[in-house]
Subunit: 351 residues, 2 copies
């Protein structure tokens, strides 16, 4: 399809890049990493569970830029969920880091006890505690990045899982290749293997004799994710052997589309939202004139606040159905966490 | 979640609407149909294969507004693919229309022979021939609408099928509830049961003793769609019993997002594209400054022309990778169907 009539430089450049990747055989997306400002010089904390993916990530990062210097630090959180196996994972990670001459941090948290005391879903609590640990570690060391070992397979599973549970475009963006670790944090989470299928990771690990503990992360997997992985994805892969690539491309395109739509909604809010005390008011006439794609995002941005339970599609739908009509003045809807939205004259007031 | 502090009118209105639907038990999305301008007064050709879905659609349309008057016409295309069974389908449709006092058109096409002569995929050719027949019939009768019996299940299958084969946001819009039958045609295709799960259609058919021929449409189903229907979807439905609803909502939201993004791209093209003879030129500096979501759509709109083989993601990607750089002047890429795009000074020229 592609033909270059004047020079062959573009094709050659692509071949060269691809050749470099092949030669290295690295599971890292090195071409992409080169464009991430400050990576890895400004410091990388690599999250290592002891499983195949993260032990491979650790090896590949070190092999790529050499383990000399102090840019790479190994972090492991022992969730205390699997007794002796948990302790063995922590030992493997620390030993490997020592052998590579890397500094490391291992911490232990009793996630099961946390859930018993504070409630919540085990998987979600473990994830929250783990990312808090990684952030703490990165900030203590002054590292700009936390690297995690998410793969193209994780990306495909996440897209399908969200699709099944119900999602829109924004949910299909799935796992971000790079993003701020938490709102306001200077630390970024980066996924250098997000474009890499797991079979390539396994091949690299075997080639380099990488030690890892099998199934170390499977305790974290929800039953739904396991069913997708074991039943649904193999069936879909029969229809398209390059399923992972197709889904990864969808996620990347969805991210571009979603980012653009969010920026349009944000621009509208900057021009039209008025803040009165701790309340926020939107003009109904202008809101009603917006294309639905932008109106939904404006409403969701205002309705959703950090640390509150998530505002869902049905809340946004209810606002559109109930509060935008001419006869809606005085009406009020509840959002999550005790918040409300009330129609006052030509304004929607979020409190 | 929803509470109305002043009056209960919004809740009551919803309850009333839902009550009306329940009372009627109709598989049609009647609330939505009321908002479609000209439906059904300006004439409806209903496409009836003889299977469960379309025989139910015929019954429900007639039951909704009465079969009196000449707004409803029954159309059946015998694809000639299943010998005696095909003829029996045609007979059932004509007999049913006669019993209901409705006018009807039955035509026969030898789809297998067409494929043998002209080539192409059986399913795609059958579809093209069928829609041409429906358009011809509607235009002959001066009907504004062609109604088809697509269900929420068809919508879910289409989304998953596209997802597996590789798609972006625009493909996730899947089956449109209403759209122009062909570019430039005054006839609209409308799907009054697109929000209805098949089990409700089957229940309605049983309640009303609707006659239909089993599996009449299954010849048209691709093997991939059958595998999805029989293996993948039941497994996904175990994870979310309301899967069909979630996917239908995704399609509706994707349509709003996609329409908005297309309108922004269209607006940019109207301001920036120059036509010279039969060529079209885009300014590279302005193009490069666009957000990727809009740039991709601008390029796709210009690269894709009716009646040419489809331009794919890889073509758009190649244009972005190869022709936008400063050193790309003079380079040229092939699109499908012998078309090209060439970098000339600060312009991309599509020929």
């Amino acid at each position: 399809m592609m033909r270059d009539r004047s020079t062959r430089s573009a094709t050659e450049r692509l071949a060269r890049q691809s050749g470099r990747r092949q030669a290295a055989g690295s599971p890292l997306n090195i071409e992409w990493l080169r464009h991430v400002v400050g990576f890895p010089e400004r410091g990388v904390v690599v999250a290592v569970s002891g499983g195949l993916d993260s032990m491979t990530l650790l090896h590949a990062l070190s092999a790529w830029r050499g383990s000399a210097g102090n840019w790479l630090h190994v972090a492991h959180l022992d969730h205390g969920l699997r007794g002796a196996a948990s302790a063995a994972d922590a030992r493997l990670v620390a030993e490997t880091a020592d052998q590579m001459g890397l500094s490391w941090t291992v911490e232990q948290v009793d996630v099961a006890r946390l859930v018993a005391v504070e409630g919540g879903n085990l998987e979600a609590v473990a994830r929250r505690v783990r990312y808090a640990f990684l952030q703490r570690t990165a900030e203590r060391l002054g590292a700009a990045f936390v690297a995690t070992a998410h793969t193209q397979n994780d990306q495909a599973e996440t897209i399908l899982l969200r699709l099944v549970r119900g999602t829109g475009l924004d949910g299909l963006t799935a796992i971000a290749p790079v993003r701020r670790l938490a709102p306001g944090s200077a630390v970024q989470v980066i996924r250098p293997m997000l474009a890499t299928p797991r079979h390539r990771i396994a091949a690299y690990a075997q080639r380099h004799g990488i030690r890892f503990h099998k199934d170390a992360t499977n305790d974290d997997l929800s039953r739904a994710r396991n069913r997708l992985r074991q039943i649904v994805i193999p069936e879909l892969a029969r229809l398209n052997p390059r399923l992972g690539e197709s889904l990864a491309r969808l996620a990347a395109q969805a991210r571009e589309d979603s980012d653009y739509l969010a920026s349009v909604a944000q621009g509208w809010l900057q021009r039209h939202a008025r803040r009165v005390d701790r309340r926020l008011a939107l003009p109904v006439t202008e809101l009603a004139a917006l294309p639905p794609a932008i109106r939904r995002r404006v409403l969701h941005t205002v309705a959703q606040q950090d640390d509150y339970p998530a505002v869902a599609f049905r809340h946004i739908n209810a606002i559109e159905q109930t509060l935008l009509a001419a006869d809606a003045v005085g009406k009020c809807l509840d959002l999550t966490g005790g918040r409300t939205v009330r129609r006052v004259a030509d304004a929607l007031v979020f409190a």
